[in-house]
């Protein structure tokens, strides 16, 4: 796993959160994934192919999902509704698009499919890959309330 691929995702997610949501984020220490479970409770997943192939997921706690939904759409949701799921799917798509632009600068062209959203805590998810899966943990604050999410990705 080439550490150079961490930066595209960092740049992508910072750009998306700052521009679209008005939220500043902070990245924690990258780790290797040691289980085959979703990191949060609402998880957007996208595969990609081309010069590299792999998967990436954008996984949030339920509370963070609702905070992000409110920031993006301007409406409150009390539960994870189909509209909230739509929102996470779209954010996954946008983060993927931005990351692929950054990865293109490294010399790799990638194409992506449609996002899938998984709702549930610790749902089994297998990245079909021979290389380690990297987990990037993030935190943020919205109106004094802390939030967190994870980007998991693998490339081969």
């Amino acid at each position: 796993m080439d550490a150079a691929f961490v930066n595209p995702y960092l740049v992508a997610v910072q750009n998306v959160f700052t521009t679209m949501l008005g939220i500043q984020i902070a990245m924690g220490k990258p780790e290797l994934k040691h289980d085959k479970l979703t990191s949060g409770e609402v998880t957007g997943v996208m595969g990609f192919a081309g010069d590299k192939k792999g998967m990436f997921s954008f996984s949030l706690t339920k509370e963070s999902t609702l905070q992000v939904y409110k920031s993006m759409v301007g409406e409150e949701a009390q539960t994870v509704t189909p509209e909230v799921i739509d929102c996470i799917g779209e954010l996954t798509n946008i983060i993927s698009g931005q990351a692929r632009v950054q990865i293109e600068k490294l010399g790799y062209k990638l194409s992506a499919a449609l996002p899938t959203v998984i709702v549930g805590e610790k749902v089994e998810i297998s990245f079909i890959t021979k290389v380690p899966v990297v987990v990037l943990p993030f935190t943020f604050q919205v109106n004094g309330t802390a939030g967190k999410f994870y980007l998991d990705f693998s490339f081969e």
């Binding site: 759409v73 946008i94 698009g97």
Partner: protein
């Protein structure tokens, strides 16, 4: 300005509508995909702007764009592609298909307003 917003994600259509409202574009009709959008445009010739996503089922944004540019009654309506597809090849493909402007998600209201102004100029409106 009567505007058609095309995106398969209802939430994204809502977000685009909210952003359009911030730049005083409030007369907005929605479509879920290119096929539905073409039917709406053919039934109502009064649209002055199209804002469309790219990756959609039934008819993609590029297929929809090409269909618009091949139709005499619709081809001069300014067409802005709003998409997560930000790589150079994607932008070139849209330009070759005749897009009037292209804006990458994430975008601000200011970005979208500038993109619409440029699209209108390019389309001769």
């Amino acid at each position: 300005m009567k505007t058609l917003v095309v995106d398969d994600f209802a939430t994204m259509r809502k977000i685009v509508k909210n952003v359009l409202r911030q730049i005083d574009i409030t007369n907005v009709v929605e479509a879920e995909n290119g096929k539905q959008a073409i039917e709406i445009l053919k039934a109502d010739p009064g649209f002055e702007l199209i804002v469309s996503d790219w990756i959609m089922p039934e008819m993609t944004g590029i297929e929809f764009l090409k269909a618009c540019k091949e139709d005499e009654a619709i081809r001069t309506i300014p067409f802005v592609m709003v998409t997560a597809e930000a790589q150079k090849d994607s932008v070139l493909e849209a330009i070759k298909a005749g897009v009037d402007n292209y804006i990458v998600k994430p975008f601000t209201p200011d970005n979208l307003q500038k993109a619409i102004e440029k699209a209108k100029t390019k389309a001769g409106r």
